[in-house]
Symmetry: C2
Subunit: 364 residues, 2 copies
DNA sequence: GACTCGGCTGTTAACGTTCACAACGCGTCG
DNA sequence: CGACGCGTTGTGAACGTTAACAGCCGAGTC
């Protein structure tokens, strides 16, 4: 096996010219065999030391360790992965754009993964169509990851994952629960939305308008439902939600329209708006400020996500704060459980409300 | 070779009794050998087909391809990496927090990498001290990445990278240029800062205050220098910059202090402020709005980064927009060049100015 | 017709680990 | 005193790919 060069004087490690060295041939980084030779043991013993196998004599272990030290040996993860069939990598599929939630989730997930000795490979996706998502999944199958996390509650992404036969566990972050045996981790969007709406109702509002996110996102739908149910249960008949996307520009446009319709008498300005995310809320704030509509005096605004800086919007934004760190952590838990073959219970992470200056009692 | 079990009934895994199958034993995914057997060639020929080796007869190639198709064979990247000593992975070290620039850079980098058939592994870091950074680098050495990108212009991070002997190329994103042979890619922070300051001067301002970023960041220092040099070259004597960090809270506090000192007569409010990033600017806007200081009527504000939503701050923020996509792309170029052993020229990416409503002519 | 050459293919040996098993030394027990 | 068990170590064979080399065959070439 291994080094044929062992024929000849064994293991003489000296730098003097002409003498055979224990150091590896050429520039190749040292391998187990090199360590073994230097320590005067077999490569298997080195392996045992590295893997904390109990049955190694203390003295042997020390000799191996010092040989490792001396050679600057590092275990070759690739070779190890080849035989164990585990790479320790988990693949994350996320969106191309710097959305706050996904980014935070990715970071938290990475931290959690590192805590478990795993590492994270990331692939971004511009659109969530089935072909693209499955392309990413294929990529990860080739890459030999131990598991995949898809950060998306987009309908089509869900379909893509559901119809993909993966050889490793796939966890979805976003959907609260899924048919099939796909483990999920999600922020409790519904509860968060109820929290926000309840807050406005408690302040005395009765006309709480909802500016919705794109309805192809489960997240957006849950938030809409949370708002809707809360209104109904309070005995209120809500206006139809205004459809939006996740951007500030759209929030701005909608804000302008609301003001304009109020001016023309077409529709009265609501006393409060619950926006599906902070960007929409930011756009609304901008439109209102520009039109001389005072927040919260004339209209209260509540957002969702508590993005960086939301505390310094003008006025500081009342918003729902999901616990992304917890989300990332639980996400890894789900993945690890799934890898161990345990059946998965959907996990919901709670969101809290950050009350700031953008919400207040209605005027009249 | 391989299967020693060939002695005795060969590999019998059969669906219909008696008929030997080309399918692999047990549940192991099919390997080259399985494809080879099905196509009636050697595994080496399969390898040749997969690697587009020229000397394969068309008919043979087709037979192999259809065998691959039939078995759903995928090449095992790990085994391949073991023998080629290249994993196709590049490691990215970035910060724990959802800073806009690094996030954008990461995304752009990932896209560029995928375009080259490489993929990106990410490790985050809470602090940039030498031990932590080198820990991440060690991690990537173990992981066998083909190269590493460190997204940080933090002084200590730079030192950490400089004093680390890596076996693969390491590119730093942030520093404009570095001693030693470490390739760099950076936004031209200095030019961007000059652009912003020049813009304010052109509007007629003479008292442009600079709210600086943390000076342990090269980025922050370059921006400060750009502002400072531009002021001097215009024959103006700038006030001392106000030290800040990257957060909106600090911007807010500073804004409040400025207003307060104006009120007490201790120091007049400047007619314009150049903030080292958009978060600081956001905090300033908040403080000014809250204090009744009108932007840009009483004071102009310019930021840096053009974060998501900057166009809908109130008022919309004039800011310097770095080309992060270009940054990510060039970053990969640097890495690829370094992997090919080519000497690296530092790369500077240009930044442009997004002029919006937060900057205007000075009042008097 | 022998010889060479180039296209095509197969054989064997790496790559650096872990796993399964065998072997050895030594104390204990029947 | 031999059998047994246990702690410790070594040996050989995987894992699935690419690299190096050798062999075969038909077409030119002299």
């Amino acid at each position: 096996m291994t080094r044929k060069t062992t024929s000849g004087p064994v293991t003489v490690s000296q730098d003097a010219p002409g003498a055979p060295r224990a150091a590896p041939a050429s520039d190749r980084p040292p391998a187990m065999g090199d360590v073994a030779r230097l320590a005067g043991v077999s490569h298997q013993t080195v392996s045992r030391v590295l893997n904390d196998h109990p049955n190694v004599r203390a003295e042997t272990r020390d000799r191996v360790l010092s040989a490792i030290e001396q050679l600057g040996y590092r275990r070759n993860t690739v070779a190890r992965a080849l035989v164990t069939r585990r790479t320790g990598a988990i693949g994350v599929v996320t969106e191309d754009s710097p959305l706050y939630g996904p980014t935070m989730t990715l970071i938290a997930l990475e931290n959690a993964a590192r805590g478990q000795g795993m590492y994270v490979s990331v692939a971004t996706v511009t659109r969530w169509d089935v072909a693209t998502v499955q392309g990413s999944l294929e990529h990860y199958m080739d890459q030999g990851v131990d598991g995949v996390v898809v950060i998306a509650s987009h309908d089509e992404a869900v379909r893509a994952v559901q119809s993909f036969r993966a050889r490793v566990p796939v966890v979805m972050v976003g959907p609260a629960e899924l048919d099939g045996d796909i483990p999920t981790v999600a922020v409790n969007q519904y509860a968060g939305a109820r929290l926000a709406t309840r807050h406005l109702l408690d302040l005395g509002h009765t006309d709480v308008l909802h500016v919705a996110g794109p309805q192809v996102w489960l997240d957006a739908r849950s938030r809409s439902r949370g708002w809707h149910d809360t209104m109904l249960q309070a005995g209120l008949r809500p206006r139809d939600p205004v459809p939006g996307d996740w951007t500030a520009s759209t929030g701005f446009r909608i804000g302008k329209e609301l003001v304009e319709r109020d001016r023309t008498g077409e529709d009265r300005l609501p006393t409060a708006v619950f926006a599906a995310n902070d960007q929409l809320a930011l756009g609304l704030l901008h439109a209102f400020a520009e039109s001389g509509v005072r927040v919260p005096h004339d209209v209260s605004v509540v957002g969702y996500d508590d993005v960086e800086g939301a505390a310094h919007f003008f006025p500081p934004l009342t918003t729902v704060r999901p616990d992304f760190v917890e989300l990332g952590r639980r996400c890894l838990d789900q993945l690890v459980a799934a890898m161990a073959g345990e059946p998965a219970e959907p996990v919901l992470v709670r969101a809290s409300l950050a009350v700031r200056a953008s919400s207040g009692r209605p005027r009249s």
